[in-house]
């Protein structure tokens, strides 16, 4: 996952804020990350920050939106990269996730994390999280053969994936999680 911006020029102030916040929020959590730190790390003045984002909450929502675009484009790309020629496309799922789980910066699903941190308190977070999971599930459904049970199967698989994500997050053992996920997926591989 992620180069984020390959452009060689220095990104605009807004982008620097967004990317810095994305990193800090993901790494340390949102409530644990003060605005002042985001501002210092992105090398921007306080007034500049507040010109682009009216509040920390607005920044949080913008970061989630950015994260969603970024993650989904990585995910669909990884799925096509690992797509096997002859065998069922679903086999791409575990290798794709393996890329992510083995990334040194992996800290679970940003949407699940954000939701547990401030799901109830910041309106919009819940919706963003649902949208994200919905799109992830749809991408998984795209790997399954058309059938009357496709949606149902995709949901079960998405739930297994979420389990593997959180398990990797606290157990720090990507290999074991992936093997277990593979076990759970076996019946769906035809």
């Amino acid at each position: 996952m992620k180069p984020a911006t390959l452009e060689s020029e220095r990104p605009s102030a807004r982008d620097r804020i967004l990317l810095t916040a994305h990193d800090l929020f993901y790494r340390h959590g949102i409530r644990a990350t003060g605005i002042d730190l985001v501002i210092a790390e992105s090398g921007v003045a306080k007034l500049t920050f507040y010109r682009h984002f009216p509040s920390k909450n607005a920044l949080v929502l913008a970061v989630l939106e950015h994260r969603h675009r970024h993650w989904m484009s990585w995910f669909t790309d990884a799925l096509t990269r690992h797509r096997p020629r002859t065998r069922p496309p679903l086999e791409a799922l575990v290798p794709a996730l393996a890329e992510w789980f083995h990334d040194g910066n992996f800290r679970g699903c940003a949407f699940l994390n954000t939701m547990t941190e401030l799901g109830g308190s910041l309106p919009g977070v819940m919706a963003a999280c649902r949208l994200h999971k919905q799109d992830m599930t749809a991408a998984i459904a795209g790997l399954l053969p058309a059938s009357r049970q496709r949606k149902r199967q995709a949901l079960a698989i998405a739930i297994a994936v979420d389990g593997a994500i959180v398990h990797t997050q606290f157990e720090r053992d990507a290999k074991a999680s992936l093997k277990a996920l593979d076990d759970l997926l076996r019946p769906y591989l035809g």
Copy 2:
């Protein structure tokens, strides 16, 4: 899940603090819950609080310990209550979880929530979370027939359960989660 204390007498100051904190932390998150609120809600003086718990962090760890005991005793009890006479014991799992998921106060796994909120920052939280999941997995293993793959199967099932927990948490649709979990478990039911 839970009556917590059936004793008719007023619980001790320490217990009131512990139970109040448990509720508030679980419902609104830990960082979102100030010490002052815990103190006010448990009807205790500030000094009394600090005589029992040297800091908020100590309270957090005590609450997790309490939660672990409480949850595990509910879990094993629910599993035996739903144990079918003639069919495989694993069939008790979904009905047991259904009790929890349908509880109006359900807000996901307290350990996963706490870990995402302050896993890195408060030493001890990570360990408590691992211990909890380890014990949960062991309880699940107890439902499986002895075999060389029992541990491996229990891990896969525990991951599916965690997925169902978080899915219920953000989608608020216990029925769908439980059906999907049932799908995932089918191969393990013999």
